[in-house]
């Protein structure tokens, strides 16, 4: 008997295999896929959150964006080989971040003329209320070089979007140029340019003393 109904969980993907070569039940395949995805998400979730929170300057929104990216990866690409997950996940995450930034920009335009205090939580990212301690534990408060980190985050957030993406993906996630290009959906040359400009701009803004 050549092929059978047994399935393989090779790299989290489904494929029919010969019955005499590593036959696995459907349940085994599902468990392996779930385990692989769990490991992948565990390995990237914190850095993904940091990237989102620096880009959006909003912890809650960053959490929402990361959760959306996780859900979409699982729903649409969970059956793809796990080696493809990294660029796919960060591509989704960057798209979500951009969508969130656009929505925020629109909200800010709409409420720009609104009487003070009527806009509820739709406040400017530079509003001191956002940066004020709200009683909940803040990640930045436990960072050893807190001031330097805050200055860096502010400077990164003011970069053009593509420069910010390239800088954060390469610096926080440690993606190489090719993987960053895949995640950003652009050429490797563009990644090098965006990253180089980002570093140049950040150094100029933060000063030599930073």
């Amino acid at each position: 008997m050549g092929h059978s109904a047994t399935l393989s969980a090779e790299s989290g993907s489904f494929s029919a295999v010969r019955a005499d070569r590593h036959p696995m039940s459907l349940e085994d395949v599902r468990l392996n896929s779930a385990r692989a995805l769990d490991q992948f998400l565990s390995s990237v979730e914190r850095r993904a959150f940091r990237i989102a929170s620096i880009a959006l300057r909003d912890q809650e929104e960053a959490l929402d964006v990361v959760q959306d990216a996780m859900l979409q990866l699982a729903r649409r690409y969970g059956s793809r080989p796990s080696s493809e997950w990294m660029p796919l996940f960060y591509r989704i995450l960057q798209n979500r971040i951009r969508d969130s930034q656009r929505r925020k920009a629109v909200r800010n335009r709409i409420f720009a003329w609104w009487p003070s205090g009527s806009a509820g939580d739709d406040v400017s990212p530079d509003d001191p209320v956002i940066d004020a301690a709200d009683g909940r534990p803040q990640p930045d408060s436990v960072v050893a070089n807190g001031e330097a980190l805050k200055a860096l985050e502010s400077a990164v957030a003011e970069l053009p979007a593509r420069q910010s993406e390239a800088f954060l993906l390469r610096t926080i996630e440690g993606l190489d140029v090719a993987a960053t290009a895949a995640a950003m959906g652009c050429s490797e040359g563009s990644v090098k340019t965006h990253y180089s400009r980002a570093v140049h701009t950040l150094r100029a803004r933060l000063g030599e003393a930073w």
């Binding site: 896929s33 779930a34 969970g78 960072v143 860096l152 180089s196």
Partner: protein, 151 residues
């Protein structure tokens, strides 16, 4: 093709400048990594919840995929039912001696077509299990239908 906008900025090209850039990037990487390591418990918990939701999503997607894989099982099941029906039909070929064109009759007194209809209807399962009893009732003309009906 590289556009003017994509061209890397010129920094003078000195090795010192490159070294400074590398040192800057390294310091930034170090600080940002600390930020990653020091996320508060609430954030870590929310991220774990998000991950578990994603795993649930994966299982749902796999279940749907399982149903679609079952797409070939449904026709296979139908084919098996046809085979069973054919076996029932062929397995009880008692030709009516009166008419060669008459329906095939089983030795229980009903036609094979009746048996197929019976087997196809789940509600008739109880009747099928008691078929010998009902056949006896009919033979003995105890049932009202056999005696001309009620009313």
């Amino acid at each position: 093709m590289t556009t003017a906008d994509e061209r890397p900025p010129v920094h003078g090209g000195s090795e010192t400048e490159e070294t400074r850039e590398a040192a800057f990037a390294e310091r930034a990487r170090h600080l940002l990594a600390e930020g990653v390591d020091h996320l508060d418990g609430r954030t870590r918990s929310r991220l774990a919840q998000a991950r578990h939701a994603a795993l649930d999503q994966l299982q749902s997607a796999q279940s749907r995929r399982g149903f679609s894989m079952g797409g070939w099982l449904a026709p296979a099941g139908g084919f098996a039912a046809v085979v069973v029906a054919a076996l029932i039909w062929v397995g009880m070929p008692a030709i009516d001696p009166v008419s060669q064109t008459a329906a095939v009759r089983t030795d229980m007194g009903g036609t094979a077509a009746d048996d197929l209809a019976l087997m196809a209807d789940a509600e008739n399962l109880e009747l099928a299990e008691e078929i010998e009893f009902y056949s006896w009732l009919e033979a003995e003309a105890v049932l009202p239908a056999a005696t001309g009906g009620v009313g």
